[in-house]
Symmetry: C2
Subunit: 194 residues, 2 copies
DNA sequence: CTCCATCTACCTATCAGTCGGTAGGCTGCA
DNA sequence: TGCAGCCTACCGACTGATAGGTAGATGGAG
């Protein structure tokens, strides 16, 4: 274990930050080079093409989310609480500005202009996320802790959309707190009182 | 009235199309020049800077929406029906690919990297839209056609977020129909049955 | 003659990416 | 022990393409 992060990891971190704030078309290798104090060609040594870096960022995000989801399922058997925890996770990220936007959501908006292989990775995230949410809502309906007016799959899509829309609103108004208000409104419609 | 659109209008139209599909950082004056068959510097004659063009696109969109909203209020006094009509408007746009994404939503995602004057115009759209939706939901609650669990302002934010999130989902999955499914789920939660 | 839209020609800055090369660490072998 | 051979990480200098933007000439319409 080394004290400082590896160069590849630093590039990955800065790449994630830039994609979240400016989007794929809004940053360059020069930005990353300046930020971490190396020269531009050195980045190509670690990530041959810009799309390779973006794909690595997306895949890393997916791995982190998958791990979080698994951890969450073990720690909290109640589906509605898992739903809350998912929203709370994004709340924290947006409030402390560590992740003011979901990487995949940002890239989804830019999808029509992205390289094909990157687009595939982005679509993969959405497929995985809706699958998980669908399972979660199905479980919640069985447990009686969430109330659905539509099929679990349709409600999962609507829930995910609302979360990502809330991120957009928070950014549009420059008010991170807006995310919290919106998701609370959302949850108060879906989660059954006990 | 002339048979063909003015060059400025053609530039505006192509600019709107490009912002919707690729975002502000995803297109150039060269793209527009190619699309409408003029040289690049001719665009500068009509819109001095790229940000001026984008601002014009946003302002035009806001004017169109304002006119539509006014027309809608006259034609349909029921708030829940106006809400449905608003969703139906976007459904049509996304289904026929004439406007697969809201210009302001796309720009909102890119906000941190936009020129200041453009950012102001974008934020203006969101302020106007939430104000209208808040009024509409207040009216709906009074009429008894919509059911709110939170304040009209909070519900308006949540509704708007859900609509924009639905656009993102439709794009992420490459399925325009997804927008319809999601907004129907949304409306079924808000609009009271009679 | 004037004005306006458009043009050609050009600018500087930056883009992603390539090239040849170097510094230094590790490995295996004599 | 010493050294050859290879490796990773990084560099300066560069490429062709493209970015947004400018200057000044041209040509047609009122």
């Amino acid at each position: 274990m080394q004290a400082t992060r590896s160069t590849a990891d630093q590039i990955l971190d800065e790449g994630r930050r830039l994609i979240m704030t400016r989007g794929y078309n809004g940053f360059s290798y020069a930005d990353i080079a300046d930020a971490i104090g190396i020269r531009k060609p050195s980045i190509h040594h670690h990530f041959a093409a810009k799309s390779d870096l973006a794909i690595a960022v997306v895949e890393q995000s997916r791995a982190i989310i998958a791990a979080q989801v698994e951890l969450l399922a073990e720690a909290e058997p109640d589906a509605s609480e898992q739903l809350r925890a998912y929203a709370a996770y994004w709340e924290r990220c947006i409030a402390d500005d560590s992740a003011p936007f979901c990487v995949a959501a940002m890239l989804a908006a830019e999808l029509p202009s992205l390289p094909d292989d990157l687009a595939v990775a982005v679509r993969g995230h959405f497929a995985t996320l809706t699958k998980w949410l669908t399972r979660l809502l199905t479980l919640g309906a069985r447990q009686g802790s969430v109330s659905l007016v539509r099929s679990p799959a349709e409600e999962a899509d609507a829930f995910m959309s609302a979360i990502y829309g809330a991120m957009l609103s928070a950014r549009a108004f420059g008010e991170p707190a807006r995310f919290t208000t919106i998701t609370e409104t959302l949850l108060s419609r879906v989660v059954r009182l006990r």
